[in-house]
Symmetry: C2
Subunit: 142 residues, 2 copies
DNA sequence: CTTGAAGCTACACCCGCTGTAGGTCCCATA
DNA sequence: TATGGGACCTACAGCGGGTGTAGCTTCAAG
C-alpha cells in the first residue's frame, strides 16, 4: 500500500491534486490507515497514471471521466472511445488554427513597427484601430 | 455620453465584463448619471476597444495593463512595447509547438486503433501505458 | 405617469488546480 | 521506548478571466 506522497511522486502529480481528484470523484475514495491517512493499491496508481497521461494530451477532466467509465466496461463498443479521442483531436486542431492566425497577426504587427517613440509605434496603432486587423478572431483562446 | 450597454455592444464586450475591468482597474472608474448609472466618453470606448483587441490577440490582462501604461507616455521608447509584443509572440509559438506535438500523438493513437470492443482498444491502451507515449509533454496546455 | 428594458450591487460559480494555516500521524534514529 | 521532523490531515482562499444570478433602482419612450 502506497502513501499519497509516493503515489503522487510516481505519477508526477501534486499531493493536493490527488486529493482534488478524489474530491471531484475522479479517483475513488481511498482506503485509510489506522491514523486516517490515505493508502493506495496498484490499481489506483494505474488509474492516476491514466488520468495524468490523458491530461497531458489535453483531455478535459470530463472527457477523462468518460474514458474511465468506458474502460470499466470492456465489452462495450470501442467507437465511443474513438469519438472522445476524435473530439479532442478536433479541439486541438481548432486551437492550432486560431493560434496560427494569431501568430501571423503578431508577426505582421511587430514587423511593421520601426519607430523609436511610443507616439509613433505601429504596434499600439494596430491595437488601437481594429480596422487594421486582418481578421476577426472571435473569443480569446481558452 | 454612452451607457454601459451601448459601450459593451460597440466593443463586443459583455456588460459584466466592462464592470469587471473597472473593478480590476483596467478601465478607469466611470462617471455616473444623476441616478448612479455609468456614463462613458469616446476615450473610454477607445480604451475598451484596445483592450478587447489585445485580448483577441491573446495578450494577458497584465500585458494589456503594461501596454496601456506605455501608450499613456508617448515620449517613451517604443522598444518596451516591442518587447511585450515579442513576448506574446513567443508564448503563442510555444503553445503552437506543444499543440502540434499533441495533435501528432492523438492522430497516432486514433490511427492505431482498429478494435471493436473497448477491451482491445488501442487508444485506452496508449493512455494506460505511458511508455507507449512518444514524448513527455509536460503540463497540460493553458 | 406608467411600464418594461436596462442598469445597479453583491455575491457565487466555472476549470483545474495550488497554496496556506493549524493541527495530527508515522517511522527512523538515539 | 522516546523523540523529532517530515509527511499527512482538513478546510478554505485564490489564481485568470470572466459569467450568471437575485433582488433591487433608474431611465426613457409612449
Amino acid at each position: 500500500m502506497l502513501s499519497i506522497g509516493v503515489l503522487a511522486k510516481r505519477t508526477g502529480t501534486k499531493v493536493q491534486t490527488v486529493r482534488y481528484y478524489e474530491q471531484i470523484g475522479l479517483m475513488p475514495e481511498a482506503e485509510r490507515s489506522a491514523g486516517g491517512q490515505r493508502r493506495y493499491a496498484t490499481a489506483q496508481l494505474d488509474r492516476l497514471a491514466f488520468i495524468r497521461h490523458a491530461r497531458q494530451l489535453g483531455f478535459s477532466l470530463e472527457a477523462i471521466r468518460e474514458l474511465l467509465d468506458l474502460s470499466d466496461s470492456p465489452e462495450r463498443s470501442c467507437a465511443e472511445v474513438d469519438a472522445v479521442a476524435r473530439r479532442q483531436l478536433s479541439e486541438v486542431e481548432a486551437r492550432l488554427a486560431r493560434l496560427e492566425a494569431l501568430r501571423g497577426e503578431l508577426q505582421r504587427m511587430i514587423g511593421e513597427c520601426h519607430a523609436d517613440r511610443v507616439a509613433d509605434c505601429r504596434i499600439l496603432e494596430v491595437l488601437r484601430d481594429h480596422e487594421e486587423c486582418l481578421s476577426d478572431h472571435g473569443a480569446p483562446q481558452p
